[in-house]
Symmetry: C2
Subunit: 463 residues, 2 copies
């Protein structure tokens, strides 16, 4: 993508318009289905016009009115069974674990880190390996319609820069963070010192801000793995960086497992909760992305609400590794806490945000049971919101993406539910099926084969 | 498949041999991985030889020793990342619900039947529609590697015969049953009388035994939908048929939902449990396939064990519709009760037995938590056993299929984990990955794109 490096305000292949069905979230429980919708993306990749119920013969005059030459303007007409929806936002993803997904279930979180994960991540010391595997990772997640991902890289500065380069080149919107971790992991996979960890972090930030100065696609994210991995001095140093860079998000694992919480509080006996702990280092604010959030105390929920932190809900890893852990998502939503979904690749085995949504439904049904109905299960509309606009809020990108509001950038999926019949696995669409039914069939039974095109900033990025 | 009708003892394209990795279950917790394995399928589709650790230069003499001409004998060599495993057995599948999968979550079982399901099933009054949709259904499940399915058809005799014809023609091994249901459904979807229901059932049995007299592939199954749908006289009549046909399996829904159990016991106040009820009509024996089995009382568990009934565990529908219901599978296994897995298409949204296995793991982890570790979660080997040999036992077909014991018929999947890279979604296989790791990656993250070939009775049947 040399051209983007030269002129990021222009996206090749644009402007472009669509006419057909458009589906996106307006609010948590408000899925908007726009039929015969005209959607125009300008040459910078922004949505310039969104208008429902437009007849085909009105399109030319609308194009004229928007200042373009009609007749020759490229308009893509979507057929029955095809629709546009916002790209998925994956709020929690360990890029170097892409090739270990599904391996090593049945052991505890801390054992899994030591026995499976660190060995995998250590391979990213080799830049060539990193380049190859990160290319497969980013390509794989784009194939699944994940237009934005918040990535934990490995601890290696050089490989983290490579991940940012790959995202930028492949056209995936991403937050990319070097993992900070200087203790409680094998000596062959641990930051050599606090100074080195912070130095490499600054270098990565600088590199990313250099390749994409306006954060058109890629942005650094401050990434303490979790407090177990970080000495106080390291957390403190990261807090300083966070203060120096008020534009940057922060991500960490948070109240993920009982064993993890106990160990954390042993390491930091001066704090009663993880919320207190991370807050004390200046790491909790409206840009914080807190993965898991299973076991928060009431006071912690109040605090993260007040601090406007976001929750990355990872229903697959929470229920498939060694425990069935239910994050109280309904409670978070009730209080207006930002919530998005995360694949948690590779603790989560799946790269599909459709599968993540389905497991979010399962977890929410379990919570409905556990609370005797007080916390109703997530609806289809709510699940889809979490996978798109909710995730964008958690990543601090909702002014830019998450739905098709005019002025946002066009991060979108073009879904085909009928033509691929016989090759895909989606429930067949029948003649009488309404658009809501087709949409539900896709969310519950479709896969990446139904995602015909993936657009980020208006650019088609699916291989 | 005219030739099969003429000579079912010969399968076209056979004999055939393989050399490479073969994976199958020997016992519940014993997954056998045979490397450099020589497997020979004779011209009737039976496994004639299974021998691990065979060098390539030994193959010709083994072929000779088995009575075949060497050199010209067709041997398929499997590469690294490829292996054979047994085809999946789906112990619970509603064929006419194929096109409603994923629709109508969040409502109770009985509402879902009335509002969504019966309208779909009623369409199978039209034989042309039945032919088309059953073809898509059987093709779709074969694509997923389901070599044996136990199907509930609709209540229509003619459409049920069509389903049996389609299974036979497409080469899927199947139990096929006309649904018996003469009450508690809309008048437009209900057997017109007990007599008619039984008459049509007999006709379907006759038809299936005529097209496949030796049950090489297709077999009738006695299918009272559940006691709510059947008057006593109907259940009694089905009990008579079951007695007349001791070769036939019986299937029904069993202790699936609290509301369903309550209503059942209101309808049959003379019985204290569903076990008592179905037993009293002669419908519980070693050929019974009991779907769900969530809420059995201790006495019921003892009874179904003694009667040697099988359990069709359907973890997706049990956790995605409106409740999170955990069948105590570990307890059943501990007592030696036969257990298999079911897609429960379309209450279950997925047609993939891989996804069913993954959800079985989730459910078993939840049960592990609920029992504070007394019921340990299912291992990978156990999940795979349930999806193959366990299912074959439940369907009464374990003498024929379920693993690669010599003398069994060759119902198999040829799995390719490497070549499809970039098109599939499976976790990448790395150079250092052992065969158990590759197998785990496939079970946890693969999909139908990894199922390169599907064999039933030695015949390649995937479109």
């Amino acid at each position: 993508m040399e051209e983007m490096k030269h002129n990021p305000s222009q996206v090749p292949g644009l402007p472009l318009a669509f006419h057909g069905t458009v589906i996106h979230s307006k609010e948590l429980n408000e899925l908007e289905i726009l039929e015969n919708c005209f959607l125009l993306v300008d040459n910078s990749g922004q949505i310039q016009s969104l208008q429902a119920n437009v007849a085909s013969d009105q399109i030319n005059s609308m194009i004229s009115a928007l200042g373009y030459a009609p007749d020759v303007f490229p308009v893509k007409y979507l057929q029955r069974g095809q629709f546009l929806c916002p790209g998925f936002v994956d709020t929690h993803n360990h890029a170097p674990q892409f090739a270990q997904r599904g391996v090593g279930r049945g052991i505890s979180l801390l054992d899994w880190l030591n026995e499976v994960t660190f060995a995998h991540e250590a391979k990213f010391a080799d830049p060539e390996y990193a380049k190859g595997m990160y290319t497969r990772c980013v390509t794989g997640f784009l194939q699944q319609g994940i237009t934005t991902a918040s990535y934990y890289a490995s601890l290696h500065g050089p490989a983290t820069k490579i991940l940012a380069d790959v995202c930028f080149d492949k056209g995936q919107r991403a937050l990319v963070g070097k993992c900070n971790m200087n203790r409680n992991s094998p000596d062959w996979y641990r930051d050599s010192s606090v100074q080195d960890s912070l130095h490499q972090t600054r270098e990565v930030i600088q590199h990313i801000q250099q390749i994409d100065p306006e954060s058109t696609l890629v942005k650094p994210v401050i990434t303490p793995r979790f407090a177990i991995s970080c000495e106080s001095e390291l957390l403190q140093g990261l807090g300083v960086i966070a203060k120096e860079h008020p534009e940057l998000p922060i991500q960490t694992h948070f109240n993920e497992a009982r064993q993890e919480i106990e160990f954390t509080l042993q390491l930091f006996p001066e704090h009663r909760t993880e919320t207190e702990l991370y807050k004390s280092f200046g790491l909790l604010n409206e840009r914080s992305i807190l993965a898991h959030c299973i076991y928060l105390k009431e006071e912690e929920i109040q605090e993260i609400k007040q601090l406007r932190c976001g929750v990355a809900h990872c229903p697959i890893s929470n229920t498939t590794m060694d425990a069935f852990m239910v994050a109280p998502i309904r409670e978070y939503l009730r209080r207006g806490i930002k919530v998005g979904l995360g694949t948690d690749s590779g603790g989560g085995h799946s790269a599909s945000m459709l599968e993540i949504m389905r497991q979010a439904f399962v977890v929410s049904i379990a919570q409905q049971e556990a609370t005797k109905g007080q916390d109703p299960a997530l609806s289809l509309a709510e699940g889809f919101y979490l996978a798109t606009l909710g995730g964008a809020q958690v990543c601090g990108l909702d002014a830019k993406v998450g739905n098709f509001a005019v002025g946002k950038e066009f991060d979108a999926l073009e879904i085909h539910t009928i033509e691929i019949e016989g090759r895909g696995v989606m429930t067949p669409v029948e003649e009488e099926d309404t658009i809501p039914v087709i949409f539900e069939k896709w969310v519950m039974t479709g896969d990446d084969r139904n995602i015909a095109k993936v657009y980020v900033r208006g650019r088609s990025v699916k291989a």
